[in-house]
Symmetry: D4
Subunit: 221 residues, 8 copies
């Protein structure tokens, strides 16, 4: 793919790293000269040191041939204008970071694929880590459901039971599904007779989210 990446800040650098690792053709537009030079020296990509919110710059970057434009700046106004210009030039995939959630519909109306502010997301993770320390990762699903990962404690009610036994003892709340078990680095697809052991990292789907009850069964806390 021919990908134009706008911004080479901390977020942009990560995108550049991932895109060049996969051998895509990458053009980076970065306004700050120092950052531009650093990227040019580190990654296998073309770098244009200019303001991206300009037709001339985008044309120089080959916007007419680009398959995707990824806008990573911390300024939603700039991300929006770039997305509008990208759309005007017929770029198929437009992706943008947004920083103020209120701007979501402006981008959505344009058909831009948006990724919420890293700071918002990070704040949620940090807070969750305090609120439910047992939960290691999580994903929200529309309708209040959540999928989450936790490690089974030796003191947990469920430790040492098969899923069938756990269910018969009423330890598995309704509409909770064990999606995966990772034991000693190996992934197991759980079945009824699969045993949950202390130390397992389990991925759980719960219709009502990671409630106290669910986490208690698996961690004893």
């Amino acid at each position: 793919m021919y990908i134009i990446i706008i911004g080479a800040g901390r977020t942009g650098s990560k995108v550049i790293e991932l895109a060049t690792q996969d051998d895509h053709e990458v053009v980076v537009i970065e306004r700050d000269q120092e950052l531009a030079e650093e990227v040019s020296a580190t990654y296998d990509c073309m770098v244009i040191n200019a303001d991206a919110a300009s037709k001339d710059t985008l044309l120089e970057a080959g916007v007419r041939e680009a398959d995707a434009v990824i806008s990573t700046t911390e300024n939603d106004s700039v991300n929006l204008m770039i997305s509008m210009l990208g759309k005007q030039y017929g770029v198929e995939t437009l992706v943008s970071s947004i920083n103020d959630p209120q701007h979501m519909d402006l981008f959505g109306d344009l058909g831009v694929n948006i990724v919420e502010s890293p700071h918002e997301l990070n704040g949620q993770y940090l807070y969750r880590a305090v609120q439910r320390p047992a939960i290691q990762d999580f994903m929200k699903i529309s309708g209040g459901a959540e999928i989450f990962e936790l490690t089974v404690d030796a003191d947990a009610p469920i430790a040492g039971l098969s899923l069938i036994e756990a269910d018969s003892e009423g330890l598995l709340p309704e509409e909770t599904v064990i999606v995966a078990i990772v034991r000693d680095g190996e992934l197991l697809i759980p079945r009824g007779e699969s045993e949950i052991r202390a130390g397992d990292t389990v991925t759980i789907f719960a219709k009502n989210g990671a409630t106290d009850r669910v986490t208690r069964e698996f961690t004893g806390v």
Copy 2:
């Protein structure tokens, strides 16, 4: 809970917002005077305008009584020292943002619950949005497995089939599980006879991750 939050930047502000919404007792330590005043005026929490990497400041913030310390600065050295001081004062839950993944073990050795750099994470999301535009959210599970969410396209091979039919036609790759279906805002727990319809948002567990084959069956692309 009694929570001390270090830093009121963009990430810190989100944590403060979440923690005060849940009516926890919150003390914020922020070095920048302007940010400190803004937080003090916006949220229901105590704000100390000082350098947090100091015993005096932490004691003033009530570290001896705190249930949790959340360190959100963009400087790993500062986050580390605060975590060490928090541990020294017996704080039960220590959470920290880390910015350079190489520092992970330093924090891990202390038993600090870490949350990876927002910029790293954000970069991955943006890139994924280009690489597999159909995928709306995803979560990595140890061992290469992934759970991901996508919307079924009218042209998708699987559209209009029940799970049993899809399976019998070989449209469901092995070790792929449909975890949830959201249709018109309502969550359905899929069973064998459940039909996958165009427009459904489905959550899929795939042992080998979101490969081209899987996404093609559901989106036609």
Copy 3:
């Protein structure tokens, strides 16, 4: 009218001055604290010291009731986002300064009334003043025509002649119309028998613009 003016820089200040003189209800949004305070002290208007590219700020400024939003910043991305937000809230008249002429169509597509960069315009005036020093003001009309104002010199071929005489002597190029004459501060609507005198300021329409020939007849140079 209820007018929201974005930006209180040098251009914005002039707009604020004009709008408050006409007793419109004016709300100003300015990011810089010092400028915001100065405007607040000088003009009869409400001033919000915040970033205008935000729904919260625009709602606080009463965007739902506003008849017009005038965006005067030197950043086209910001002007564009504000215009989009203004449109979303149903503001009837949207006016924006644009700084890079290439952005004209982005604003035009939104139905925003645009005013070209002051620096572009000023540059044209300065250059024209050297190229045709006799011309005091001018306006371009589509198709190459121009309307311009100059002062008749005593040495000018046309000085002392009536329009009819001038025409019969071939001094008025074809498709050139004398639109107005200002003599001693008084405006005269020229007729055939009107005399052109040295010292008159005449406004001329010329289909082919202010060519050397036209200016020479009136100024002798």
Copy 4:
């Protein structure tokens, strides 16, 4: 012509662009090193990186041979001193940007051709665009008269009438003259029998300016 241009800011750059396009011999004096280098790389002109308010610099720029000096800085004191030095060296045409209208007479006394502050002008255009959105361009003539351009609306009383008909129906206010009509990109010199059609862009001279009545006849609003 041999033209010395003082200042290569946004206004100055436009002047340089226009003057070099016409193949004049251009010397630019710019104090800021970065701007000086940029101009030198972009346009075909000589650039001196120095303070222009100095005899040495002006002599180096060839002020004795110059036909014109155009002073474009945002500092009226500097523009004034340069104009005085230019006059001293016998430069024939002196043009200067002025930023504070109160300084107009200082320049006028020296015989300097002045161009009013771009910010003033721009502010007027932006405000006019709100006040009379139908008007696309305008020029003020001494004595309160104005020449202005607008597009005829299908709902306008005058649409579909010849000028004679319009006049007989009293739709043309007294001392209002239709100077030009642009239809489908072509310029027409209006005569009595010329018809005004919806979609025409007409240029109107009005002794009393663009009053509500005049604009209403042509736009229906």
Copy 5:
């Protein structure tokens, strides 16, 4: 006198100190807020914190009633514009510091009383102190003549002689006049029989300036 002083920098402060000591009515215009406040607290004068190169500011300072305007800034362009404005308002005495000697005639043509750059003057004094350390003060007179002050050394050829004796011994170069003698703090008007003693501070007029020969007779060096 009613005196307006522009600038309260180091030079301006000295002028303010002298003018207020003599009980003149003094108004100071200083752009820098901190300096303005300091002057206001230190001296008995009115202080306006604004840009002086503006008619509004000068009128507020009472320029129409002022007997004198003293411009002390380090920017000749500003000094020049203020002098022009002062002249326009009919101020009788206009005095200005000038920093670039080349600008002297611009001010001279306006009838402004100028005082050469302090740095120029200071440089001359410092260098003279090295070149002729015996000379304590000096003043240049048109045509190469100088008046200078030095202290007579015990080893000086002239020490102990009356002026008549010194002359007869050829110790007084032609066209050299002893203008004054200060002995033990008392001023003496020298006559022929006056004796020059070691330790006397003598003021000498020399048509050819303070040549080696002259200084040697008085200082022995």
Copy 6:
């Protein structure tokens, strides 16, 4: 002479210009890199870009061989330390600019030849120009006497009289001496019969200074 000059600011530059014009061997020490390079490119001297208040720097500049050290910085502390170091290394002539008159004795005790702050001096000149506009230059002599230069006005009582006549009419105050007359650019040594003409520039010694009476006789004002 071998001269070390400390500081290449505006005062220092003048000293460097004078000293290199006279072909002295000059070494300049300047802390600011830009100034150091500018001096190096402009004058025939060696330039050391370093802090002068250091033995190493002074030794590198050859202080042991130097005939004179001239310290021109605006910081009296630095000037003082340099003078002390210069004395320690046996430099014969030490000259320093001083900025705060209160520091005079500190330098005096060291035997340093001091030159008063240029700003002080300049302030006196500017004020004098207002107070006695007729006086063009002046020099103070111990004991209140002054020598000053003025131009004789046509309306002056003394114009057209010989010195003898003027004296007999009581126009020359007691203990006032005409030291020199410059007429048409030529210097005359005045004698009794010399006539004072309108337009002459005369240098006057007055025991009681330039009082109103004296200036009035010569200028009529």
Copy 7:
């Protein structure tokens, strides 16, 4: 005592803390406003926010009555001038920090008690900690001798012996004296029969300094 302390930086603050703890009458002079206010709020002392290198400031601080002036700035020129002014006003005790060891004699000649640069000292301590990690503190005595403190290791040859035994076994190098022993927080004056035990902190005088041999006997390394 009446003590004037110049500078309230990190070093100065420590001096202020010590001097106010001992209830001396303390006046602080600090140029930076923020630091001045902080000191004023923290310690029981008078604070003058001004430049100390000025007679006016020192007099305001009461230099005529002061018993001591302690100059703590990082600028030796300033420290020197303050010391000279302090001496001039007859202050009995003058103490100054010096930053460049080459300036030592300038201060010494004035009779100022100097304390070497903290950075120099700190550098020596840090390096010594690597070179001889066993040594905890040390003091240099003229002539190469050193006094140092170390902790006796269980593996050290001398551990468990009395001084007499150690001497007879040749473990105490010549001209080495055990000055003090601290055991369990208690200080012992060593005598011949005193035993050196593992864990003792001993203070040793060694004529030839802390050589490898000496440290080996006590630490085994």
Copy 8:
């Protein structure tokens, strides 16, 4: 030894100077580019211009082979992280400057050899110089004892007596030991019959510290 030094500020520079003088293999890590270049040009060592709190940088500096890491920054958080990383890589000797004494135990727990803040130490020296001006250097020993150096005054009670005489006259307080005498630059180990002469610099151990009584016996003050 292979030594890595973190920071090339004023303290760091001293450490680098000492370590390179002893011919150790030295690698310096300094974040500021200017400082890094200066060190590289001055000392015989390798310099890495990067942030040291990073595994990559430390590995590039050869931390796996290093015998010692000396952390000299003014930021304790950074010093702490570097020490932790150094420990992780098995560096034998870890030395760090600490700036806030409260952080001492964090470093102590890691087994890092710490050196107290230079500013703390310097403050103590300066204050001591005022309090006991006779004392030239001192070292604190646990338990309140001190070793100090002073010069014997001619007026001192002890001057001219042998130690035995002094003791018998009760001039030597109990538990005070004369450790060394330096006379005319030569070091003497004192014995009973050794005479204390005016001008001697003596090093004294006093169990109760440098009390007034002790210093009076030796200095007469």
